[in-house]
């Protein structure tokens, strides 16, 4: 059963809603109703059940994809360091790569964005608004 609701909006917001509703070819009331329905989960149990079913299907599809041998000859998986290494961020180790911005005097002290930050980082050193 549909119920009525009166809302108050600034003139410019109302104008924007009118344009959006006209663009979608529906009434402002219907347009706003759809907006609310998207924001409020009216049936969380059904939503959760649908999510679980979608995930179950997605997992089955994932597991059905081709399998690859990604370990080395000793059965060891690649290390996290190797996986996360970004050669492009280590230009200072690759003289064959164009130095690009490193030519600039302004950033000359910055040899690489991949350099480790000084440790340990002191949380208390954060700038605060306290005087």
């Amino acid at each position: 059963m549909l119920k009525n609701l009166t809302i108050t909006l600034p003139e410019e917001t109302l104008r924007a809603v009118r344009i959006a509703a006209a663009h979608d070819g529906i009434s402002m009331s219907k347009w706003l109703g759809r907006l609310v329905e998207r924001s409020v989960d009216v049936n969380p149990e059904a939503t959760q059940a649908a999510r679980v079913e979608t995930q179950r299907q997605a997992l089955a599809q994932f597991l059905a994809l081709p399998k690859y041998q990604l370990t080395d000859k000793n059965g060891k998986a690649p290390s996290k360091e190797w996986m996360n290494d970004r050669e492009g961020l280590r230009r200072f180790e690759r003289p064959d790569l164009h130095q690009g911005l490193a030519q600039s005097d302004e950033i000359a002290p910055l040899r690489s964005v991949a350099e480790p930050s000084p440790e340990p980082w002191d949380y208390g050193a954060f700038p605060t608004s306290d005087k």
Binding site: A58, L65, P120, W121
Partner: protein, 109 residues
């Protein structure tokens, strides 16, 4: 069950690095998107900054825990930890630290 967008980024980058054929790598990443329940937004990053500073973890690890906490996860499975811990209300264990049977029993409890 939920997956951080960060995990999919790492998965896809690793698949490319391991030279898994591109169409398969893309399918794997697309498929994994079904498990993303929450974005990495300002609140997650703020939470991660707090974890990073308080627990002196790596930044990416802090971001993963911050995301899990914000997404309402009570358990985070990650290979990035040596021993179990509880941070920001999230219990963190490595799935490789347990035998498969133990893991299933742990997840069911």
């Amino acid at each position: 069950m939920a997956l951080s967008p960060q995990a999919i980024n790492e998965l896809f980058a690793s698949l490319l690095r391991l030279k898994v054929p591109l169409p398969v790598a893309i399918k794997m990443a697309q498929n994994s998107l079904n498990f993303v329940s929450h974005p990495i937004d300002q609140t997650v990053v703020r939470r991660a900054l707090h974890i990073f500073a308080l627990y002196k973890t790596s930044w990416w690890y802090a971001l993963m825990i911050g995301w899990a906490a914000q997404a309402g996860c009570s358990l985070l499975l990650t290979e990035d930890i040596q021993s179990a811990a509880i941070i920001d209300g999230v219990a963190i264990i490595s799935p490789f630290s347990l035998e498969p049977d133990e893991l299933v029993s742990f997840l069911s409890s």
